[in-house]
C-alpha cells in the first residue's frame, strides 16, 4: 500500500539540497516546485482552510530558504520538510478554537464475551465506486477525517494519504513502527465506522426503491 521514494528522485533531491546549501538559488526554486504541492496538501488536510494552508505553505517554503544550512542530512530531506510542515500547521491550529474530539474508543468494534462481533456488519464496499464522484460523499469523508483525534489523524495523513512507508512515518513523528501501526489501525477503524453510517443508509435507500 505504501510506496517509497524512487532512488533516482532521492539522488536528484539530495544533489539539489547540496547545491542550494552551496548558494545556488535555482536549486531552491526546484526544491520549492517539488515540495509546494505536498506541503499545501498536508497543511490543507490538517487545517481544512485555504487561507491557513496558504500561510503554512508560504511559511514552510521561507523556512526552507532561511534554514537550509541547519539541515544536516541526518534524516531524509523530505522527513525534515514534513516535520516543519506539521509544526507550522499545528502552530496555526493552536491559535484557533477547536471543537473537542469525540472519543475514538466509542467507535471501536464491539465483541461479546466469546470474542464474536456484536453488531450487524453490512458490506457496503460495492457501493463506494459509484458514489466517489458525488460531492455529498466527499463531504462525508472529509468530515470523518476531520473528527479523527490528532494523534491518529497525522499518522493516517502521512501513511495512507501521502503514501509514506511505516518506517518513514515513524521517523517523522518520532514513533516506533508498532506505534505507527497501532495508530493507523485505530484511525482506519474509526473512519470505517463513521463511513458505515453513511453508506449503510445509502444501501437501505437503494433497497427501498
Amino acid at each position: 500500500m505504501s510506496f517509497s521514494q524512487p532512488k533516482k528522485d532521492k539522488e536528484i533531491e539530495e544533489s539539489l539540497v547540496r547545491e542550494f546549501q552551496g548558494g545556488n538559488l535555482k536549486a531552491y526554486d526546484k526544491i520549492a516546485e517539488i515540495y509546494q504541492k505536498k506541503i499545501y496538501g498536508l497543511s490543507f488536510n490538517l487545517t481544512r482552510n485555504q487561507m491557513d494552508a496558504q500561510d503554512v505553505t508560504q511559511e514552510v517554503l521561507l523556512t526552507l530558504f532561511r534554514k537550509i544550512k541547519m539541515f544536516q542530512g541526518k534524516s531524509a530531506f523530505s522527513s525534515w520538510v514534513y516535520r516543519i510542515t506539521l509544526n507550522t500547521s499545528y502552530m496555526k491550529l493552536r491559535s484557533k478554537k477547536k471543537e473537542p474530539n469525540i472519543s475514538i474508543d466509542e467507535l471501536m468494534p464491539s465483541f461479546n464475551r466469546a470474542g464474536f462481533q456484536q453488531e450487524k456488519i453490512q458490506d457496503w464496499s460495492e457501493n463506494t465506486e459509484s458514489l466517489m464522484f458525488n460531492t455529498e460523499t466527499r463531504d462525508v469523508i472529509n468530515k470523518a477525517v476531520d473528527l479523527l483525534p490528532e494523534k491518529e489523524k497525522v499518522v493516517f495523513l502521512l501513511r495512507d494519504v501521502e503514501g509514506l512507508s511505516t518506517e518513514k512515518t515513524g521517523e517523522i513523528l518520532n514513533l516506533t513502527v508498532p506505534a505507527v501501526k497501532s495508530r493507523l489501525h485505530r484511525a482506519r477503524l474509526f473512519l470505517r465506522k463513521k463511513l458505515s453510517y453513511y453508506f449503510e443508509e445509502f444501501s437501505s435507500r437503494k433497497a427501498e426503491k
Binding site: 500500500m1 538559488l25 531552491y28 526554486d29 520549492a32 509546494q36 504541492k37 499545501y40 496538501g41 490543507f44 488536510n45 485555504q50 496558504q54 505553505t57 508560504q58 517554503l61 521561507l62 530558504f65 468494534p109 465483541f111 466469546a114 470474542g115 464474536f116 462481533q117 450487524k120 456488519i121 453490512q122 458490506d123 457496503w124 464496499s125 463506494t128 466517489m132 460523499t137 466527499r138 469523508i141 472529509n142 470523518a144 477525517v145 493516517f156 495523513l157 495512507d160 494519504v161 503514501g163 501501526k181 493507523l184 489501525h185 482506519r188 477503524l189 473512519l191 470505517r192 463511513l195 458505515s196 453508506f199
Partner: protein
C-alpha cells in the same frame, strides 16, 4: 479457531502481508466461516481507498500558487 476480535486485531498485518503462514491460514479459515468479518475486511479496505482518493486531490489554487511565487521571489531579492 480464532474469534472475531483476534481476527480484527490481525487485519492490519494481514493486509500488509506481515503475518506468518500459520496465522494467515487460521485467519482465512475464520473468514470462510464468518460473513460479518468478510464484510468488515471489505469495508476496511474500501475505507482506506476512498479516503486516500478523496484527500489526495488537494490542488493548490492558481491564485495561491501565483502569490507564493511572488513572495518567494521578493524574499530572494531581499536576501
Amino acid at each position: 479457531m480464532i474469534c472475531c476480535k483476534e481476527c480484527l486485531d490481525l487485519l492490519y498485518d494481514y493486509l500488509e502481508g506481515d503475518l506468518d503462514q500459520e496465522t494467515t491460514k487460521s485467519l482465512e479459515e475464520h473468514f470462510q466461516d464468518c460473513p460479518p468479518c468478510i464484510s468488515f475486511l471489505n469495508t476496511y479496505k474500501s475505507t482506506t481507498k476512498i479516503c486516500r482518493n478523496t484527500l489526495n486531490q488537494v490542488e493548490i489554487p492558481e491564485a495561491i500558487r501565483e502569490t507564493l511565487l511572488k513572495v518567494l521571489k521578493d524574499h530572494k531579492v531581499d536576501n
